[in-house]
């Protein structure tokens, strides 16, 4: 019975997607909305039920394998479509279906009036299904199906408003940049499959030799996939542009779920990464670098969704930092809380955007707190959680878990992470102050409808209280999540219970407060209209530190230019040359036949003489 549930949960959104696709736009929008939200809601309900059943009576070894069918079985290679239910996948499922359901609900309101709502929901539900496959798979190849599937849905949804050429470009960019990582991931799979004989996760992990070059190479290749999917340096360039999609898409795909797939992958395969210490270091360093770069960029943005996008990159950097330091549980914890509060922030931002006529520039907004207090409250809750306001927000606890682990790994990492926490508070406070306080610059109209308000309210509560399931020992020894995940990720590290824990905790609590204070000093409501900083540093930060330009100059342009030069295909000239030679020969021979009978006789004589000479020559 329990074994039936995971496939069923996948099937719910998948069936909805299939129906929506096959109806080919003939379905009335209300029916489409109902179908999509209902299917994902059903999946969420089933997942809850599954979770209850799983937790109340855990199966042996805390895992449940469901083999659906043999996918490829040839030449000694065997891949199966198979699911594994264990605490890690259960947590991910809860995030995907739970947050996913709320976002679908929200989207019902947000996308009202769009003629193509069936296509929208088809892609959304397909995404949920693919994401569920990703987190449930017990075989890496099967996981790859979900991995690419979510990428495809991301592409389709970023470019949802296709009439705008820029949206299509952004969608393509997102897909192709992640595809580069996917290729690396695929190479990693090839390596693992060659070395270990299969891609079943448990089997792969069993047969890993620690410290060997294979483990290092495989981990590095898989890391490539994870970095691209999770928009970490040097692949982070696609995520800000991906904000071209509708806001629910940004909330679901580019904040809550898909971009965390890289984190999930590494957590899932953590024994492999443990066997590759160099890669672990790279993960931590890249995570930290991304965290700081993106936070700096977020500070200089003017578009509210781009602020949140850079914030997402930055927060994912936290997760990678955690992964790099071996804090798998902390990474997953932050993944969960981030999914909640970032989805909340995006949806609140979406509500704002809808009310101010699709204005996204924060410097054209202002004073919206009075006009839409509910949305303001929701955004503030999300911002507080993001900033990590001590004790009262979920983000505080998850970030604290990471900071502690970073301290253990090295003070430099810890200092960087602390700086990141300060910057996070700074930029999100800037956003809140400019958008919701001060004078009104764009008058909002309409009102936020219930289907959007309910998810906002629900997520607000979660964003504030969700962290209580897991607390630092210095506050209260609550370890619900880590203990749940322990069968998969190993027991939580306890060596951190040394003397300095309290000091660390204090530092971690003060950094966001300092950030908020500085932000208040800089961007508190004043008389004059606030303007974005425009010095060189700000411009560089706003442009994402020039990664886009560098890639364009070094890779894309030369590639396209060379292709353009060779668009007629060099090899195609060879037959032309041969044809020309043949024509030339034909003309020559034609000229020999000039109609003069004496010359013909001359050729005969010449031929004879030549033959005689040839014969006489020894």
């Amino acid at each position: 019975m329990l074994a039936l549930l995971p496939p069923l949960i996948v099937l719910c959104p998948l069936a909805a997607a299939a129906i929506l696709l096959l109806s080919a736009g003939r379905m009335p929008p209300p029916a489409a909305r109902l179908l999509a939200a209902g299917a994902v809601g059903l999946a969420a309900a089933l997942t809850l039920w599954l979770a209850v059943r799983f937790l109340s009576a855990p199966p042996p070894a805390h895992r449940l394998d469901v083999v659906l069918w043999h996918w490829l079985r040839v030449g000694g290679f065997d891949a199966r479509i198979a699911f594994t239910l264990d605490p890690l996948s259960l947590v991910m499922m809860l995030v995907v279906t739970g947050v996913g359901f709320l976002i679908h609900l929200y989207a019902c309101g947000y996308m009202r009036g769009d003629p193509d709502v069936a296509r929208f929901f088809a892609c959304m539900t397909l995404f949920v299904a693919a994401m569920l496959v990703l987190v449930l798979s017990s075989d890496l190849l099967c996981l790859y199906v979900g991995w690419e599937g979510v990428g495809l849905c991301s592409y389709l949804l970023i470019g949802f408003w296709y009439a705008e050429a820029a949206n299509g470009v952004a969608a393509r960019k997102a897909f192709i940049v992640t595809r580069i990582g996917d290729a690396a991931l695929l190479c990693g799979l090839l390596l693992l499959a060659t070395r270990t004989g299969g891609l079943e996760i448990a089997g792969v992990l069993r047969s890993i030799q620690p410290g060997g070059p294979v483990a290092e190479a495989a981990a590095a290749l898989l890391l490539g996939g994870a970095l691209a999917k999770s928009a970490q340096a040097p692949f982070q360039v696609w995520l800000p542009d991906a904000m071209a999609g509708p806001t629910p898409v940004s909330a679901l795909i580019h904040a809550a779920t898909m971009v965390t797939a890289g984190v999930y992958l590494i957590a899932r395969l953590h024994p492999l990464f443990l066997a590759a210490p160099a890669v672990m270091t790279a993960i931590a360093v890249l995570g930290l670098v991304t965290l700081l770069l993106a936070a700096g960029s977020a500070l200089a943005q003017t578009d509210i969704k781009r602020i949140l996008a850079f914030s997402t990159i930055s927060q994912l950097g936290y997760m990678f930092l955690a992964l790099g330091t071996g804090a798998w549980g902390a990474a997953i914890f932050h993944l969960v809380t981030h999914a909640v509060f970032k989805a909340l922030l995006f949806m609140a931002a979406g509500a704002v955007i809808l009310r101010v006529h699709h204005q996204q520039d924060i410097f054209r907004m202002g004073g919206l707190g009075r006009a839409m207090p509910g949305v303001f409250a929701a955004f503030a809750a999300g911002a507080a959680a993001l900033a990590g306001l001590p004790l009262v927000t979920a983000g505080f606890y998850s970030k604290e878990a990471i900071l502690q682990q970073a301290w253990r790994a090295g003070p430099v990492l810890w200092a960087g992470a602390l700086l990141g926490a300060f910057l996070t508070a700074l930029y999100i406070s800037r956003c809140v102050f400019i958008v919701f306080l001060g004078p009104v610059r764009t008058a909002p109209t309409g009102r936020t409808e219930a289907s959007m308000a309910i998810p906002l309210a629900g997520l607000s509560v979660l964003a504030l209280t969700g962290g209580l399931i897991e607390m630092p020992d210095a506050i209260a020894p609550v370890h619900l999540l880590f203990r749940l995940l322990a069968p998969v990720l190993g027991p939580p590290t306890t060596e951190g219970a040394e003397g300095g824990a309290g000091v660390l905790l204090l530092a971690g609590a003060l950094a966001p407060l300092a950030g908020i204070a500085v932000a208040w000093g800089l961007w508190r409501p004043r008389a004059g209209a606030p303007a974005p900083a425009d010095d060189g540093l700000a411009r560089a930060a706003r442009a994402g530190w020039g990664f886009d330009a560098a890639y364009g100059l070094l890779l894309v342009r030369p590639f396209l230019a060379l292709g353009w030069l060779n668009r007629r295909d060099l090899f195609d000239r060879v037959p032309d040359l041969l044809a020309a030679a043949t024509r030339w020969g034909a003309r020559l021979l034609g000229r020999m036949q000039d109609g003069q009978v004496r010359r013909y006789a001359g050729w005969i004589a010449a031929g004879t003489v030549a033959a005689l000479c040839l014969a006489v020559r020894p």
Binding site: A24, G25, W69, H70, W71, L72, R73, V74, G75, G76, F77, I81, L141, Y144, V145, W147, E148, G149, L152, Y155, G159, Y162, A163, E164, A165, G168, V169, A171, R172, F175, I176, R179, I180, D182, A183, A184, L186, C187, L190, L191, A193, T194, F559, L560, G563, W564, N566, R567, D569, F571, D572, V574, P575
Partner: protein, 499 residues
């Protein structure tokens, strides 16, 4: 089993009937062609069904004398590989006839007759096991297709058809040399002049000679597949052919190259093939990257798809020369999947040309609102073509890359890089054709795909999906017959010594 001969004769009879029907009425040939295809499918189903259970890898046989003085027979045998490709041929001929050829107004009888004749030739290629008979069919299938392109093609059809014919015929002559050389060496050793595949497979060849003979075969199949320096005929031909011709070319004709590589190059000359493998693998990787690269910069949508074929079939070369059952199975799946996806893309490109009277991507854009069904199917098949997991192409590419990785990780990495490029060109095509703003002041009312197109293309999609999610039947069929349990008593593909 005479049914094998019927596979060739039935389309020929159908061709004659279609031609005659065309003399009676211009509307008549189409139903005749459809009926022929239905009969052909039924025949193939019967052959499939009639295969004795557990009767060994060769599923059906037929033999009759042809030119006894030279030891040439009408020997045909069908194994799983042949069966898979025969099904692909039959399946793909349906879109050709159902979608593309109905609107032919210029002597439709001849058009359908030629189409069916091509199918007959292809069927023959897939079953002939007398090398001379194979060569006969190999050359025969070109002729009707040449006429199809020359008469019903697009603006630059003459040149394209010329190139097509010259390349394939010229390389075919090299193959003839190899076939004859092999037969004569065999005759020297045994005193029997024969072109029988199974007899010739037992010939002892010195390494140099085996390499020379293998190269003759290789060049012929490499032109057909195509392998990169020899691919130059393909973009022109695919671009200029009428839609049905493009579908047939991309879907089926190119597969004869892959089939030949497996059946003849690798199985007849296993040792030489292994020695040649590094070169072939390099060529395969080059093809993948070069094709994708050029595909990206094309403005002509059919040309773009044509170059994408070059890229996709590079995987087939990799798979065949990866010297493992895994790679060969992957190559076969890749051939089938490429046939379905690229065939469908050519149908879509042809439909676009019918509606817009241009193939130039620069003059397209924003077609989605005007042609939602067409655009959606275009997107779907473009995605299949970029190798999304869950669809057939991925299975093929993955198996090929896995097999390649085992012998050469760098080549496999290059192949994987091709996946990135394939995403690039496929999405660029979709973006330029269907998305974005329409040029000028929007599109006039255009007829979208109707139920007929959607049904046929939907069926192709379903097959791709089935191939992507449950490819086991194809894998089981394509793999064991020629490789493991073949009638040839040598350790093919394992690199083992010949007995």
């Amino acid at each position: 089993m005479m049914a094998l001969y019927a596979l060739v004769l039935l389309p020929l009879v159908g061709a004659a009937a279609a031609w005659l029907a065309g003399r009676a009425s211009p509307r008549a040939p189409w139903p005749v062609a459809v009926a022929t295809l239905v009969l052909l499918a039924a025949l193939l189903a019967y052959i499939t069904w009639a295969v004795p259970a557990g009767g060994g890898p060769w599923l059906a046989h037929a033999s009759a004398p042809w030119i006894p003085a030279l030891g040439i027979t009408l020997r045909c045998d069908m194994d799983g590989l042949g069966l898979v490709l025969l099904w692909l041929t039959v399946v793909l001929s349906f879109p050709c006839v159902l979608l593309a050829s109905r609107d032919i107004t210029d002597t439709p009888g001849t058009f359908h007759a030629l189409l069916l004749a091509t199918i007959a030739g292809v069927d023959g290629v897939f079953i002939a096991t007398d090398l001379f008979l194979f060569f006969f069919f190999w050359e025969l299938m070109l002729v009707p297709l040449y006429v199809l392109i020359t008469v019903w093609g697009h603006e630059d059809r003459t040149r394209a058809a010329f190139k097509f014919f010259l390349f394939t015929q010229g390389s075919g002559l090299l193959m003839l040399l190899s076939i004859l050389g092999l037969a004569f060496v065999h005759q020297q050793q045994t005193g029997i002049l024969t072109f029988d595949y199974f007899a010739l497979a037992t010939t002892h060849l010195s390494p140099v000679l085996a390499m020379g003979l293998m190269l003759g075969f290789f060049v012929a199949f490499a032109v057909k597949l195509p392998v990169v320096p020899l691919h130059v005929w393909l973009p022109d031909t695919h671009t200029q052919a009428p839609t049905a011709g493009s579908v047939l070319l991309a879907g089926v004709l190119l597969k004869t190259g892959g089939y030949g590589l497996i059946r003849f190059v690798v199985l007849l000359f296993p040792d030489a093939a292994i020695r040649f493998a590094p070169v072939a693998l390099a060529l395969g990787a080059l093809g993948i990257l070069y094709g994708a690269w050029l595909s990206l910069v094309q403005d002509d949508i059919k040309r773009l798809i044509a170059y994408s074929s070059v890229s996709h079939l590079g995987f087939v070369l990799l798979g065949v020369f990866s010297a493992s059952p895994l790679g060969v199975a992957g190559a076969v799946v890749q051939m089938v999947a490429h046939g379905l996806s690229t065939g469908a893309l050519f149908v879509i490109a042809g439909a676009l040309q019918d509606r817009l009277h241009t193939r130039d991507l620069r003059r397209m854009g924003g077609l989605w609102p005007a042609l939602p069904h067409l655009s959606a199917t275009g997107l779907v098949f473009a995605i299949a073509s970029l190798g999304l997991p869950g669809l057939g192409n991925f299975v093929g590419e993955f198996l090929v890359l896995l097999a390649t990785w085992r012998i050469s990780p760098p080549i496999a990495i290059l192949g994987a890089a091709g996946l990135v490029l394939s995403a690039l060109y496929a999405l660029t095509m979709v973006g330029r054709a269907f998305l974005g703003p329409p040029p000028g002041d929007g599109w006039p009312a255009l007829p979208d795909f109707g139920a007929r197109h959607m049904a046929v293309l939907g069926a192709a999609m379903a097959l791709l999906l089935a191939l992507g999610l449950y490819p086991q039947p194809v894998l089981d069929l394509s793999l064991p017959a020629p490789l493991l349990h073949s009638a040839l008593p040598h350790a093919a593909l394992t690199g083992g010594p010949r007995p």
